[in-house]
Amino acid sequence: MSEATILEPPLDPPRAAPPAAHAGAHDDAPHGFWSTYFFSTDHKHIAKQYLLTGLCMAVIGGLLAHVMRMHLAFPDRAVPGFGEVPAGTYNALITMHGTIMIFFVAMPVLLGGFGNFLIPLMIGARDMAFPRLNMMSYWTFLVSCLILLGSFFVPGGASPAGWTAYPPLSANVAYSGAAWGVPLWIAAVALEFVAFLMGGINFITTAINLRAPGMKMFDLPMMVWMQLVASVIFLFSVGPLVAGAVLLLLDRVAGTGFYNPGAGGDPLLYQHLFWFFGHPEVYVILLPGLGIVAEILPVFARKPLFGYRMVVYATLATGVLSFIVWAHHQFVSGIDPRLASAFSITTILISVPVAITMFAFVATLWRGAIELKAAMLFAIGMVGVFFWGGVTGIINGSAAADIYVHDTYFVVAHFHYALIPPVFFSLFAGIYYWYPKMFGRMLNETLGKIHFWGTFLFVNVTFMPMFGLGLRGYPRRTFDPRVFAHLGDLHPLQLAATLGTIGLLLFQIPFVLNFFGSLRFGAVAGKNPWRANTLEWTVPSPPGHGNFEGTPVVYRGPYEYSAPGRDADWFPQDVAPGRPL
């Protein structure tokens, strides 16, 4: 607790101090340009730093995908603006696209961005429990981004070992040819985990200890629950992976043999360490994505989230189950085949708690008064597209079927359908919804709707054909389809997927224009433009340093919309019972 004495601003748990004690907190806010925008300990600034860094990485990750898709559609031509894509470059592209999108987009945006911004605001806290740790988390993350991007420019290029970096390919420079790329990849990813470890400790401590007076755990907005469970999952799963990465680095630079069978090691050990983290990681990403949707659906349907407690329990069950499914990535990897059936059962069972959550979202719409704003379109779209990812996961999860679809485009299609909804649909839904709170201005709804319909259409144009490719036995990570005669007639599907990617990228332009244009031209938002209940809407947009003027007191759950016996169809969490709004 010694750090607590050096925290700035003072961060006593709100319930421990009367509101007046914080009256002077605003004066502690740093005023200089650098200290405000760069070295701020304010969770809202750190959130924006994470969000913008994540979005920049998303642009890079998206352009890498574009180069791959162009190459696959036109393998005998140079990619405009990039040039030839030889095999080594192609392998670096797939590696960096996956690494960037999972570790350097999904996590910074969903956890670093939305988690940081919303947790203190939603629970009535003045900041994170450990603001300096929070700042350190971001800067560590930024360094990891720079190391990763820098690896493009070292001799031998970026890591070509796949985003999973399986040894021996990743452990031996003779096999991969990337003398610098792989160690830099390992360093970047390990450092990124350190950043999110700091963030996770902060999230958990904040959500549990800094809740406003009266706010019980079952009064937490679902977003906070999801961030909390995601952080716990991350904390419990990341250790083995960091260990695995360190062992890999030692194999690589110090000549140890943890994964080298010639020295008594085993490559499969790495796969277990990687996926023991890697599968829970899917839920670290999915849960905050679901949290965003859970906040938006009730507001734009004007209804309580259906079965709040049921969803919380289902989320906890999902979190627990996520730790015992990892070997479904390894059915045909050479593990003892008798293990497969058990992992198949746990994998397929996880459909039950996830289905409970998704069905609860659908039920929230029943007999609502639905307003299809851009945020709502993306939230409903998230649910609709995620169903594709969910049901196709059952095919991958069945060990017998996985023998065939493993490492084909079917898997590629599946995990894009499973990850694009929580990462991109939720990200966009969240931005359309919370942008007014973050920047004080409204986004343009028309541009938002164009953005949604274009994105929705072209996500399907891009990834639907990949199910067909996979069923026909098209292997993923194949840089030149002309090698395999039997894949020749599948070219129209590759072409369609590439056209989809181009459409997808083009339809992000309205979003970029909207995002930056509205900073200046957007309508002024006011405190609560959506007439929402949660605490972040009770403070000015954007909220000042220290968030709350006094300490809010919470009287009810977050989703009391259209409550009987009340004229207004919303009932903020901090309005005392019996008082008119």
């Binding site: 309580p304 050479g334 039950v352 008064a369 067909g468």
Partner: protein, 248 residues
């Protein structure tokens, strides 16, 4: 255009059946869920003067609408598990008695197949060792021992629905019984370096007579010294320059 490649092994049909049964079961849920989502979205659009219903979903009377279907999902899940498990066990857990033993080794970036010669014994001097070419007679159980010389590879023949990773330091046992004569691509399904996408071989499923003829021609064409020379050849050095090392 077929949805999947022709099924050419004894268990290919079983795997396909598992896939289609799962597709059918989850397809029903999928259509229902998407249908209800769309229906609610259009049916309950905001109308002037109509207030949303207050349905918090606290009592079982309400959550039952979700929990009971989820019990049905649980039942479907277990049925899928049970159905798939039998197929998995047949394919992966036990290798049946086989008429032919073959050695398979992946290396950057070629497959090496070791066929027993006339004596039918693997590891004897008359072994036939060929890169990127495997011959088996149709309708016979073939057991293989799969190894890897450098990094991970994955022995994959789509038409046989056969896929198994090759791991350095392990000798993994597997089997198949090809049921249709013909030639099929042998692919590598695990990223194995710069020319991973070029690594391929061919599986020839021959009739019994063709197989014997091929065996005779190989024995005539391949003096023992050649086989020994091939085995003694050093691992081709991985070449950092792309597009060059594929045809090793």
């Amino acid at each position: 255009m077929h949805l999947m490649p022709v099924a050419a092994s004894s268990y290919a049909g079983d795997i396909d059946r598992v896939m289609w049964v799962i597709t059918l079961i989850v397809g029903v849920w999928f259509v229902a869920a998407e249908g209800i989502l769309l229906w609610f979205t259009f049916r309950y659009r905001k109308k002037d003067g109509v207030r949303a219903a207050y349905v918090p979903g606290k009592s079982f009377r309400q959550t039952g609408w979700i929990l009971i279907p989820c019990v049905a999902i649980l039942v479907c899940d277990l049925a899928i598990d049970a159905f798939g498990e039998r197929v998995w066990k047949t394919i992966k857990e036990k290798v049946p008695p086989a008429q032919l033993q073959i050695g398979v080794e992946g290396r950057q970036w070629a497959w090496t197949f070791t066929h027993p010669g006339k004596d039918g014994i693997l590891g004897s001097p008359d072994d036939i060792v060929i890169p990127n070419e495997i011959h088996v007679p149709v309708g016979e159980n073939v057991a293989f021992t799969l190894g890897a010389a450098d990094c991970l590879h994955s022995f994959w023949v789509p038409e046989l629905r056969l896929k198994q990773d090759a791991v350095p330091g392990r000798h993994i046992q597997g089997w198949f019984r090809a049921t249709r004569p013909g030639s099929y691509g042998v692919l590598c399904a695990e990223l194995c370096g710069v020319a991973h996408g070029l690594m391929r071989g061919t599986l020839y499923v021959d009739t019994e007579a063709d197989y014997e003829r091929w065996l005779d021609s190989r024995i005539a064409a391949q003096p023992a010294s050649q086989a020994a020379a091939f085995q003694a050849a050093p691992t081709p050095a991985p070449q950092p320059a792309p597009k060059t090392g594929g045809k090793s």
